[in-house]
């Protein structure tokens, strides 16, 4: 392995990890808080990127473009939520339907499959041309996102969303409109994903209709890696979100190392799938082992 090349590539993985960390925090909200496997993400990441790039190409302020991307992502989450709670379509299928439909929407937004935006001509918020700056900017946005979410999930509304994900029966018995809560949760989650898409498009200098393919797996990888590695030390909600972002950074570092070992970029999807499968399998197999051997695995529930 070429250590020098690896060291050179690492800052880029950190920047990517921070940008995808925003997406992963969105995935955390659906997957962990709402207990909802939302596959909208693969489509809404590109929607965010597409809206941001088209807005900036049309001369809008890049920060306004971020707002536009977030709102577009939220709209995607709204659609998935309505599919699920209003029309009774199963959770996973609702996300898949939105994701599929968004492909056409994203093509409409961009007019073609790829829209480039050059950092030379446009005032981008970050770009891979200046990685230290990209790391700085994306860190700030991660911190802002975590602070806002920490506040939000401490409010009456936010706590009701958490209760809905935790125990729907109890939530309804306590007068919580669980349908609305699911929709709001999906909107917040996909809003973050749209925002991540806006940053990612700027980072790589284009929005591409395929940029979100497999995004959910990367998001899940970050959530799961963050949970497995930092779950014991990071108990507080905000710190858990920090753990998720660390998880995303670690994921990209691992990918960089794997690439340096000589694998092709086209092998990445397989590696991502295997990483997620492995991290999901470990806690399960551990549990099985403890049941079989009568060890104190279940102690926490005693």
């Amino acid at each position: 392995m070429n250590v020098m090349a690896l060291m050179k590539a690492l800052p880029g993985s950190v920047a990517q990890g921070l940008i995808w960390g925003l997406l992963a925090v969105g995935v955390y909200i659906t997957y962990k808080v709402l207990d909802y496997a939302d596959l909208t993400v693969d489509g809404s990441l590109c929607t965010g990127g597409a809206v941001a790039v088209m807005m900036m190409l049309a001369g809008y302020n890049p920060y306004l473009a971020l707002v536009g991307a977030t709102l577009a992502g939220m709209a995607a989450g709204l659609v998935t939520g309505v599919f699920h709670v209003t029309f009774g379509i199963p959770a996973i299928l609702s996300g898949i339907l939105t994701q599929l439909g968004l492909y056409s929407v994203n093509m409409r937004i961009m007019g073609k499959s790829n829209q480039a935006i050059s950092v030379d001509k446009y005032d981008l918020i970050l770009s891979l041309r200046n990685i230290p700056h990209a790391i700085f900017v994306s860190s700030i946005f991660c911190v802002i996102a975590i602070v806002v979410l920490y506040w939000f999930f401490g409010t009456e509304l936010g706590r009701s969303i958490r209760a809905t994900g935790n125990n729907e029966n109890m939530s309804r018995a306590q007068g919580i409109n669980t349908k609305t809560m699911k929709i709001v949760g999906l909107m917040i989650s996909n809003g973050l994903v749209g925002l991540a898409g806006a940053f990612y498009a700027q980072y790589q200098g284009n929005a591409d209709v395929n940029m979100g393919r497999g995004a959910i797996v990367i998001g899940l990888a970050a959530v799961i890696i963050g949970g497995v590695l930092f779950g014991r030390i990071f108990r507080n909600f905000a710190m858990r979100l920090v753990g998720v972002i660390f998880g995303a950074i670690l994921y990209f570092v691992v990918i960089t190392v794997v690439l340096q070992l000589g694998l092709e970029t086209t092998d990445l999807k397989l590696i991502s799938a295997l990483i997620v499968a492995a991290f999901l399998a470990v806690p399960y197999l551990k549990g099985q082992y403890f049941i079989k051997h009568g060890k104190k695995g279940g102690k926490a529930n005693a």
């Binding site: 939000f152 401490g154 409010t155 009456e156 509304l157 936010g158 706590r159 009701s160 958490r162 209760a163 935790n166 125990n167 029966n169 109890m170 939530s171 309804r172 018995a173 306590q174 007068g175 919580i176 409109n177 669980t178 529930n301």
Partner: protein
């Protein structure tokens, strides 16, 4: 306080697993009534409570709570009037949330939930005092996750949550069935105390005839989705298990043999 008029509910209609769960239920409760409900498996006891709570829409009939027709209201809107405790201790609380968070959720039952902070310092003080009355040592564990509590502790907490905002009607659905006898007795005693303290109107489903006789001022027995016995006043006070079995056999005829084991 509560009025059920001709309530019918059939599960899986027009299919091999069709089940007529409620078959014309009529019931009127006065304010302050504490009614115990007994009956064999599948008699419709829990189904009746779920019909009141609005877990699913009923096929026909009306549910009135304190003069308000709630038949068409969804479950979360009826929650304004109801306090509920379930059979499964896991069901009534959010396990991954703290004790104080669970109480704060219950404290806001029937209120719009906005962007105010979800719990105030003043509430915390109140919760501490209320938890002290449970005598389970929970007042020092406000920030503990509810998932760490025992089944009995969780049921006691659920009871507290159900009565935190004084409900018009308290629905107890075999809420001691999953507990060991000693804990069950303690939770029952607590239920009695809370109902008396707040002057609540309550419906309590139980499998235990002795409990059904010892608690409340009125006893109803269900079979095949109907109320077949309704005993109140002096008659209820003097009731014995033998009386009840006798009455049951008269009211329901041949089913007696099958249900006796369950009821006795």
């Amino acid at each position: 306080m509560l009025e059920l008029k001709e309530i019918y509910k059939t599960f899986n209609p027009n299919s091999p697993s069709e089940k007529k769960a409620l078959n014309g239920v009529n019931l009127t409760l006065e304010s302050g009534d504490f009614v115990t409900i007994i009956g064999g498996n599948g008699a419709g006891k829990s189904t009746m409570l779920n019909a009141i709570a609005g877990v699913w829409p009923i096929d026909s009939g009306h549910v009135m709570i304190d003069g308000i027709d709630v038949t068409k209201l969804p479950e979360h809107k009826r929650a304004l009037y109801l306090g509920r405790v379930f059979q499964d201790p896991m069901n009534g609380t959010a396990a991954d949330m703290e004790i104080e968070e669970n109480l704060a959720l219950a404290y806001r039952r029937g209120q719009p939930r906005g962007l105010r902070w979800g719990i105030t310092a003043k509430e915390r003080g109140e919760y501490k005092e209320l938890l002290k009355t449970l005598d389970l040592g929970l007042e020092t564990r406000l920030r503990a996750k509810v998932g760490l509590l025992s089944g009995g502790q969780r049921q006691a907490l659920t009871l507290l949550m159900a009565t935190l905002k004084k409900p018009k009607l308290l629905l107890l659905d075999e809420h001691t069935a999953a507990l060991d006898p000693k804990t069950a007795a303690k939770v029952l005693q607590l239920s009695d105390r809370m109902i008396a303290e707040h002057g609540l109107t309550a419906l309590m489903v139980t499998h235990n005839m002795k409990d059904a006789i010892a608690h409340g001022n009125r006893l109803i027995m269900m079979s095949n989705g109907r109320i077949i016995l309704d005993i109140k006043g002096e008659e209820k006070k003097k009731l014995t298990v033998e009386d009840l079995l006798q009455k049951f056999s008269v009211a329901s005829g041949s089913e007696f043999v099958n249900d006796r084991a369950l009821l006795g």
